[in-house]
């Protein structure tokens, strides 16, 4: 039994290495990383500039607003990471490499697990690049710099969100199968469906429901700590915190609740994807 376990771990290691070789032998991973890095830089630069304007007001505030923009940027990165995740299987279906992948894998679950590990870690790379360019943007831009600890905390919760969205994306890719449809579903959800649901619910004066949808949970995870940090020093800080809440338009859930909820969505979609995968005929 023990040797079986060791063997299956070895087998998983081999499949993870195969997934890495797939990822890094084509352009997709870095073509998606370009907008991620660019947006991280521009958002934090602009966030700093915005604070600079605020600080010039009479009785103005000089606050580490870059934290909130970093949190929001992580949300943007998460969308790209989810698309990257959805293409884990989508691209294999598109190019029909899935046949060879399954023929050389010990089982379909093993292949899925390897994709979760490999693509998930590339998702974390996306988050790290976001944090790096976020630091650069915040440093260049005006406004107070956040403390290293606060920055690390926001980067960590943001990184978790990006990771969970990558896994969720893999689940969506497995559930839908077709790469165009899977990417379209993710993009439509983040750009249209989610804001629309939020708008309708707000108009109907039941805004809290939106907080429990994946986007709401994700924003709580990425921005809650940043908004709290803004409110930490009281006085003008609380004003800014309210401002932060308005800007983010959400974050009624604490970050950990948002994280648990998003993890739940990721588990659900990966589970549904795995079920669909088991039943799928590769013709």
């Amino acid at each position: 039994m023990v040797s079986d376990l060791v063997l299956s771990r070895l087998a998983l290691g081999r499949l993870v290495l195969a997934e890495y070789r797939k990822i890094f032998s084509t352009k997709l991973w870095w073509t998606l990383l370009i907008p991620v890095a660019a947006v991280a830089l521009l958002f934090t630069l602009a966030g700093g500039g915005f604070v600079g304007v605020l600080a010039d007001q009479p009785g103005g505030v000089d606050l580490p607003f870059a934290l909130v923009t970093l949190g929001l940027t992580m949300g943007f990165t998460a969308t790209f990471a989810a698309i990257f995740g959805a293409l884990a299987l989508g691209s294999e279906n598109r190019h029909r490499t899935i046949t060879t992948t399954l023929l050389t894998g010990s089982s379909r679950q093993a292949v899925l697990t390897a994709k979760l590990v490999a693509h998930g870690s590339v998702g974390l790379l996306y988050a790290a690049v976001t944090a790096l360019f976020g630091v650069i943007g915040a440093t260049i831009g005006s406004g107070a710099l956040p403390s290293a600890a606060a920055f690390a905390a926001v980067a960590a919760t943001g990184g978790l969100a990006v990771l969970l969205w990558t896994l969720l994306g893999i689940g969506v890719g497995y559930l839908i199968g077709n790469q165009v449809a899977a990417v379209l579903a993710l993009v439509l959800y983040s750009l249209i469906i989610s804001p629309l649901i939020g708008g309708i619910l707000t108009a109907a004066e039941i805004p809290r429901v939106g907080d429990y949808l994946p986007d709401g949970a994700s924003t709580a995870l990425t921005t809650d700590l940043a908004v709290r940090e803004l409110g930490a020093d009281g006085g003008s800080g609380r004003v800014a915190a309210e401002l932060g809440t308005d800007l983010t338009g959400l974050a009624t859930l604490p970050w950990w609740a948002g994280g648990l909820l998003l993890a739940g969505y990721a588990v659900l979609l990966v589970g549904l994807g795995a079920l669909a995968d088991e039943r799928r005929d590769i013709t």
């Binding site: 063997l7 070895l10 087998a11 081999r14 499949l15 290495l17 195969a18 070789r21 797939k22 032998s25 084509t26 352009k27 691209s91 190019h95 029909r96 490499t97 046949t99 060879t100 992948t101 399954l102 023929l103 050389t104 894998g105 010990s106 089982s107 379909r108 039943r279 005929d281 590769i282 013709t283």
Partner: protein, 307 residues
């Protein structure tokens, strides 16, 4: 893990896609040490059967095993079975060497093995070109190289000659026979009998998802009635002598010879001698396997099925 026999056993396999029955109650065994042809017209269920053997398509009923185990329970399947399937793809931007690197990692063989199989199939010079620029024949060679990565005991090939040039087909034939001669198993499908006639030791012929013949091509040939071709000095005299003996299966051929059924060459020679007719030519008619194959599989297109 598995019995190491190299035997493929298909037992009572059935599969329908919606209302269309692709394979129905199909059974056959593929033995090691020989090249087995898997013959049938397009749409007769060959590809579906091969994909069920490889665990890619789930059968509605029945089982398919390699080395006594279903594909999904072989543990390290690519070290047991190598497969070249139709519609098996490549990422167009990936170079052949990188493609093989991916699957070498999955199987757990060193990169040197990838280089070795590339040389084996003659793709060494093209190893660092993106596969998108490959011809169909080169893709088939790369698919074969991928199948050979794990040094498998069993090879399963679906229409491997598609897109290959005659030189490639001849090379493949020699390769498969050598592979089988080393005691390993080869199952190769085709819809053209002529294409694999010289390669295979035995055949499984399917029509409409069911087996219509299992065994050697020789058995297939023997099973059909053969005729004797003669060029008599006096055709009329021979025909009336034959009639007198009750032999009526006689046909006048375009080339002037008579085709006589139901008797072997010696009997016909004696009959001619008794009738005082000289025979300038006496031969067994070589029955075209293709004809037998067509007879066995006819009806496929006469049915209500769409394919």
């Amino acid at each position: 893990m598995h019995d190491g026999s190299g035997r493929i056993v298909v037992d009572g396999l059935s599969k329908s896609f919606g209302p269309v029955s692709a394979v129905s109650d199909l059974s056959f065994t593929v033995e090691p040490g020989a090249v087995t042809g898997f013959l049938g017209p397009n749409g007769s269920g060959k590809t579906t059967t091969l994909r069920m053997i490889l665990g890619l398509v789930r059968p509605d009923s029945g089982t398919a095993t390699v080395n006594g185990r279903p594909y999904g329970r072989l543990g390290q399947p690519a070290r047991v079975v190598g497969a070249v399937l139709e519609a098996q793809g490549f990422h167009p931007a990936r170079r052949a060497r990188a493609h093989l690197g991916v699957y070498a990692a999955a199987i757990g063989v060193p990169a040197a093995r990838a280089a070795a199989v590339l040389e084996l199939v003659g793709l060494g010079p093209a190893a660092d070109r993106p596969v998108g620029g490959y011809s169909l024949g080169m893709r088939q060679r790369l698919a074969l190289a991928t199948a050979l990565l794990g040094d498998p005991q069993v090879l399963v090939l679906d229409e491997p000659a598609n897109g290959m040039d005659p030189e490639g087909i001849a090379w493949l034939r020699t390769f498969l026979q050598g592979f089988a001669r080393s005691g390993r198993t080869v199952l190769v499908s085709s819809h053209l009998l002529a294409e694999i006639e010289q390669t295979v030791d035995s055949v499984v012929i399917v029509s409409r998802g069911a087996a219509v013949h299992r065994g050697s091509l020789e058995e297939l040939r023997r099973g059909s009635s053969s005729r004797v071709l003669v060029a008599p000095s006096d055709g009329r005299a021979l025909v009336s002598a034959l009639r007198a003996r009750g032999v009526t299966d006689v046909e006048q051929r375009m080339d002037g010879r008579l085709a006589i059924g139901g008797h072997d060459r010696q009997q016909i020679a004696h009959l001619a001698l008794d009738a005082g007719v000289a025979l300038y030519d006496l031969a067994e008619e070589r029955v075209e396997l293709e004809q037998i194959f067509l007879q066995l599989t006819s009806g496929q297109y006469g049915s209500e099925r769409q394919w």
